[in-house]
Subunit: 346 residues, 2 copies
């Protein structure tokens, strides 16, 4: 253990300076590799800093530079039940990996408590605990998003927000993807009586995926027999919505995999064969759909990459490089597995 650690007092820049025999200011410049400091001195400062285990105070730097060196990942409480764990984990993974590469901290902000009328994440932003934020899975009508946007703080949204013209977003084309998934059931598997289990319709994702479904049924003249029922992305909702009408449809398009799994359970309980009697396709591919039996066909959303791209852009914004793309679309990948009848293994 170094003396500094034993003393258990934080090593400050002044300590390093004293040891080298120069000013704290000079040390600061030396460590930032300023050309106003002689190479010899720089070397000494670096050596002493390493020896003492000097690590600058983030608070002091943040205060002086007016820059926290951190980004926040915002999670609206409302999405706690709505969006699953795995989605968030993928996002977190993408954010941290990029942030790490840029010496930036990641902090998690939720609005669990709305003390003093400010959501926790507004507080995070206003207190400058973070220099910017990634916001995901927000409801369409969430006015805190507007406030955040209006406050001018760097913000990148993951998802589609057509009503927010000024927002910088990273998204997938839910509508087109959902249409294609539906058409797959129609064209490849010959299904005619289709059911769609929607996500929550106060989320754009829910709306878009539903619209895509209707686009497909309309294009193939199947409106008569098509039905869409509102769910909330939960497995339970998927199960309940299908329970009473397991025999009515020969194809189900779920707005996400959890609901697809719920539907699968309900169908199984009713003795309906999947994919024989009912073809099923989900959305997301965040983990669940691959491991069920039958494995659920789905539309893979590149959550981690979206988060990484969003974070890159956010760091640009924070650095004042505002110019750049505003709306970025990522590609989805179709994974046709057993539940629609494509993968016949097992």
């Amino acid at each position: 253990m170094s003396p500094a650690k034993r003393a258990n007092r934080r090593v400050t820049l002044q300590d390093v300076a004293d040891r080298v025999g120069i000013t704290a200011a000079a040390c600061s410049m030396a460590l930032r590799d300023s050309d106003r400091i002689s190479p010899t001195t720089k070397e000494q400062v670096r050596a002493v800093a390493a020896e003492l285990g000097y690590v600058g105070s983030s608070a002091a730097r943040a205060l002086r530079r007016q820059r926290a060196g951190a980004v926040a990942l915002i999670v609206p409480t409302t999405s706690k039940h709505v969006f699953g764990h795995s989605y968030f984990m993928h996002v977190l993974s993408g954010v941290t990996s990029v942030a790490n590469d840029h010496d930036t901290q990641v902090l998690i902000a939720t609005n669990a408590d709305e003390a003093r009328g400010l959501t926790a994440y507004e507080r995070v932003m206003r207190s400058h605990s973070a220099d910017g934020a990634i916001l995901t899975s927000a409801a369409i009508e969430d006015e805190t998003v507007d406030r955040l946007l209006a406050s001018g703080l760097p913000l990148v949204l993951i998802g589609n927000f057509p009503q927010l013209a000024a927002a910088i977003t990273v998204s997938v084309d839910d509508r087109t993807a959902s249409r294609e998934a539906t058409e797959h059931l129609i064209v490849v598997h010959g299904r005619r009586r289709l059911l769609h289990l929607t996500g929550p319709l106060d989320h754009q994702t829910g709306v878009d995926r539903r619209d895509g479904f209707h686009d497909a049924v309309a294009a193939h003249g199947l409106e008569e027999e098509a039905v869409s029922l509102e769910g909330d992305f939960s497995e339970e909702a998927g199960r309940q919505l299908v329970e009473g009408r397991a025999d009515t449809f020969d194809g189900i398009v779920a707005a996400n995999d959890d609901m697809a799994f719920g539907a699968l359970t309900a169908l199984r309980e009713r003795g309906r064969d999947v994919p024989g009697e009912v073809a099923l396709i989900g959305f997301d591919d965040f983990g669940l759909s691959r491991v069920t039996t039958p494995a659920i066909s789905t539309v893979a959303v590149p959550a981690e990459e979206m988060a990484a791209v969003a974070t890159e852009r956010l760091l640009e914004l924070i650095d004042g490089r505002a110019a750049g793309w505003t709306r970025r679309r990522m590609d989805v990948t179709f994974r046709f597995r057993a539940s629609c009848g494509c993968d016949q293994k097992l």
Copy 2:
């Protein structure tokens, strides 16, 4: 929008003070509800603060108070592949909910890059970006844990660390749980030829679960036919370890659910019936095991509660309330489902 927002300049305590006609210091005291300030003034200050949307600078406060108001959740990179997403998510969930209740930020620290010989999370701690940390899934020989511990910074570990006498830990009794799970296959389902798929043996969890397995087979005189093979908690390892010997055993105890699922896949490919020919039990119950077919019997680890408890304790430590428990044991819950033959539904 308030003027402050339009001006897009941060609202400082001084601004509030000017508006009220008093000193910033008085404002500070007023907002912290000091009894040295008159009720009238307090009221005014609060009103103005709300009006201007004042939120204190976290950096300034942190600098002055020598307290960041944040805790770090540390994730060793080495565990990236080892521990799954879902486990971490449960932990994060537990940490954030408690931290939120205490007005504390949560930041995620990984050691993705070891710039300048310091892991990223050592840097986080030394820079006082966080006042303390929760560390989970560390390897037995991870010397950064020792350094962190030696540095005297508040730290709570999740998991068993028998070699670290000074550490404060929250854990489950992996060995006993694993023994009981194994005995379940022996006693309830009459299995005699048992295989254990271990976790990585440089993690205490891997060792303990393996030892529990051996305790059970020894207690029932089944050592002759029992085998344990080293895995790494991955589905792929589970599959590979079972692939060559699917016919050799009638009971498999996997150190976690991912490996159990891998084993299940391998058995299925070989046409071995689960649970008929081979009874299978996993460990963790972080999501996967419930949704497979057959559903995998498992030992549920209360990850979220452990994280919550650890965070509560951490906040105590940070507040200087060092006295309290040092090693906390949480209970596991057995979930006997279809893969061991208990739950006959489908």
